[in-house]
Amino acid sequence: MPIIMWLFIVPFIASFAILALPSKVKPFIKLFAFLLSLIPLIILMINHFQLKDMSINYPWIPSFSIGFFLKIDFLSLIFLYLTALIIPMSILAVNRKELAHTPLFFSLILMIQGLLLGFFMARDLVVFTIFWEAMLLPLYFIINIWGSGNRQQAALKFLVYMIAGSVLMLAAILFLYFTAEGSNGSGTFNLDTLQHIAATAPNAQWVFLIFLLAFAVKTPLFPFHAWLPDAYCHAPTSGTILLSAILSKAGIYGFFRISLELYPQLLKEWSPALLTLAIIGVFYGGLAAWMQNDFKRLIAYSSFSHVNFILAGLFVWQEPAQAGAILQSINHAITITALFLVAGWLESRVQTTSMNQISGLAKYMPKLCWLTLFFVTVSIALPGTNNFVGELMILFGLFGQNPWVAATLGLSIIFSVIYMLRFMQCTYFGVPSSFQSKWIDIGAKELLISTPLVFMILWIGIYPGPFLDAINQIISLAHGEPS
């Protein structure tokens, strides 16, 4: 079997293997799940140099001319690495003692991994759509079964929003299918073929709009974010990480994949409107984060703000800005994983997410405090960290097009400083609240877990060269095409 197929199928095998484990090994199940989730990363690393342009195309449903067509290009590769890295982190974020039905939980996470890997490689629009929607189901169950508070409602809201956003995608891909039939004589869902005909087809703007709507809900772009606060807050920590770090990237990947390949011209034309929405989103997220008294909600809104920052970079039709947007997707995934990880550790210790009830924790949990502070400074894009590079590139690109807009967007960084430092101020500094015995500072285990994240942050922050090389190739490919 080709490597690419292994890459896709291993998480599913792992997912069933976890369910089938005998009860004797239950204590080690987290370790097992973690090791199994590392396999895709290992496959990616071992075959790193052969992966580019690798593809498989099996006839899956020939009656509909649907092929199981997976292909890896640079854009996929970046998101594949991201998935392979973040999923193990999210497994490590699980506090196993709090969970009932643990095997099912890990099995679902591994299933998400497989679906995401498939999604990032899919080149057939039906396969793309199937993975796009199927990845929601495991997340729905994770929120629904293991969430907190009003979790059922949050999960239902999440899934119904997602389905509402992407339900018309089915009509859009059928439309493309018949467009291809009209111009080539045979219908196809193959992106390689559609690339040449989609943009010139009649009603292209409607089809593009449907795709944009789906991606906008999932990412989410302002004002399609109504599902976000509840879902982020009521999900268990690892679920929140999956939502913020990976699911939003699926949306961003969708934006890149469909708009750069099928409709570059339309994206260029609609750039002002989309850019406006994204910038409103950045500020809305920032202001909302400022107003929160719940640190999980605060981080959720900061994530929303940052994701819209990425989209702003994408919607500027400028090479550096789009390169920055791709880089920033990696950065955001790493940073938000780190933030939710430390927030989860904090939550499991103080048993609350309200910032009103806690203060001055630095005295009792110094290590957690300094680790959080490090990730917070990363989030506010201090020079030397990865976010600085990405945001600078986006602003740089935007500046070339419209300095005033760039200056406005630049202000948002001040917002992020304000709300993030307010979070630090409220929880860790200030007058210490009375100590409780269950507050134990993080130990070597937690520090070890956060090491890869710190490493990635500093690597991209100090030496982003290798990443930028890969990204520039994607961008120049997209821009080099006659459009």
């Binding site: 899956w60 039906v126 796009w132 929607e133 079964i145 059922q152 509402a164 059928l174 439309f175």
Partner: protein
């Protein structure tokens, strides 16, 4: 021309004969040794159905004019026969698990009626003449009137039975009247002669006669399929009937009605007049919209499945509307694919309901609270089936919808596609609410439920079949594409 029936001809119709004979045998056993009948009736019916299934697969097609003028022996007929027999098999399983919880004075009669209804379905699926079609529909309906009220001491059940009888006989009257008008205009009741006869009609009055007949036949069948605005009976009847009967109606009657549609309008009168297609499309809109909105408010699950069934009937109307002359060739396969997926998912769901069914009022949403913690297997089966009904990828329900929308696109019904997709948002909401309830912690009953083997078998088999179709739908698709040609 042979004018006597050979042995091979009898073999060709053996599925029907086997069902009828075993139904009569069941009745005899019931009359003479009724205490034995309670124990063995279900097994006997299962054996008969399996035997009939075997016969249906192996039987040669008859070419005897005595049979072919009444019955079709094409691959489609064989497919319908196998499908209906499977439905019968599942219905017997569900009924036997129902009788584990509820005691009726006799069990033998129940299976007699079920097998009779089944033979009616078989007749519909292979009918080649309006008369056989009508015979099939009536055999099915009359058996169902009694089955609906089978639990005599259930108040709602008797009400449902009477309601169904009154409304359904009215619809039957329309159907017969329609057939009569068509006969008056075309001079034949044979399906194969209908289209040529229609095309030969040259006076406006005769054409009007024919079209009125077609409209009345459509009305009669739409009633049986529970299509808005002819659906009023369905919620009450589904609600009041015993759960296995509801399951049989939700799947068997619905598929029977659509099989009749396929035989009359998609094959015999294929694309005879675009007005008919327009009319069907006009029925599809209200069916999709109304049923989905009303389903939002249901908490009694038999009633809920009535509305869910109506909304699926709306989807099934789409290929009917799209089946125009010179249009798509995939209308029948898409309809059949949807029917198969729908029946698997509905039966799977009813198998889980059979497990929870403890009162005559049936299962309400509240009974599902915490089902996942009580029985992960049941919750898993119900989840798979519900997701399939909602048509969420990667389940087979998604492919079924994709196929139907593709056909609609080909026929140019873009608005129907958009309305269909938008109503799936609403349906996603009410289907997912069921799943949410199952996974909640609150368990209102501590009682330990005992598994019923036949129901569990049905549930697991349905879920497994759905999984198989979801992962690799191609074999079923290519089979249906060859059948529907």
């Amino acid at each position: 021309m042979k004018l006597t029936l050979q042995l091979s001809d009898l073999f060709a119709i053996s599925p029907l004969l086997i069902l009828l004979i075993s139904a009569l045998v069941l009745l005899l056993i019931e009359s003479f040794v009724s205490h034995q009948a309670k124990k063995y009736s279900a097994w006997l019916s299962l054996a008969a159905i399996i035997f009939a299934m075997f016969a249906a697969i192996t039987a040669p097609a008859s070419e005897n004019i005595l049979l072919t003028s009444w019955l079709e022996f094409d691959p489609l007929a064989r497919f319908f026969t196998v499908l209906f027999l499977s439905i019968g098999f599942v219905s017997v399983c569900l009924a036997s698990s129902f009788f584990e919880h509820f005691d009726a004075p006799t069990h033998g009669e129940y299976y007699f009626l079920l097998l009779s209804a089944l033979s009616g379905l078989l007749l519909i699926g292979s009918s080649a003449d309006f008369l056989t079609l009508f015979l099939g529909i009536e055999t099915l309906s009359v058996s169902l009137y009694i089955l609906c009220g089978y639990m005599k001491n259930w108040r709602f059940s008797s009400e449902a039975s009477l309601k169904y009888f009154l409304m359904s006989s009215l619809a039957t009257a329309f159907l017969v009247y329609g057939i009569a008008l068509i006969y008056g205009a075309a001079g034949t009741t044979k399906f194969s002669a209908l289209l040529p006869a229609y095309q030969k009609i040259n006076t406006l009055s005769t054409q009007t006669l024919f079209l009125s007949g077609a409209a009345l036949v459509t009305l009669g069948l739409a009633f049986k399929a529970a299509i808005v605005p002819f659906h009023i009976w369905a919620p009450d009847v589904y609600d009041g009937a015993p759960t296995p009967v509801t399951a049989f109606m939700a799947v068997g009657t619905k598929i029977g009605a659509f099989a009749a549609f396929v035989r009359v309008f998609m094959q015999a009168l294929h694309g005879f007049n675009p007005i008919w297609n327009e009319g069907i499309a006009l029925l599809a809109y209200p069916t999709l919209i109304y049923a989905n909105f009303v389903a939002l408010r249901q908490s009694q699950l038999r009633r809920f499945f009535a509305y869910s069934g109506i909304s699926h009937a709306g989807f099934l109307l789409i290929p009917l509307a799209a089946d125009m002359s010179g249009g798509t060739t995939e209308a029948i396969p898409s309809l059949l694919f949807y029917l198969v997926v729908y029946s698997l998912a509905t039966f799977g769901a009813f198998a889980v309901l059979a497990y929870l069914d403890k009162r005559s009022q049936g299962v309400v949403l509240f009974d599902l609270y915490g089902l996942f913690h009580r029985s992960p297997l049941q919750a898993g089966i119900l989840t798979v089936c519900i997701l399939t009904l909602a048509g969420i990828p990667p389940t087979a329900g998604f492919f079924a919808k994709l196929f139907i929308f593709k056909v609609a696109f080909q026929a140019g019904y873009h608005a129907l596609v958009v309305v269909g997709l938008l109503t799936t948002i609403i349906s996603a909401f009410y289907y997912l609410r069921i799943i949410s309830v199952m996974f909640s912690e609150k368990s209102n009953e501590k009682e330990v439920y005992d598994y019923s083997i036949p129901a569990i078998f049905v549930g697991v088999a349905s879920a497994a079949a759905i999984a198989a179709i979801s992962i690799y739908p191609q074999p079923l698709l290519s089979l249906l594409l060859t059948i529907g040609k």
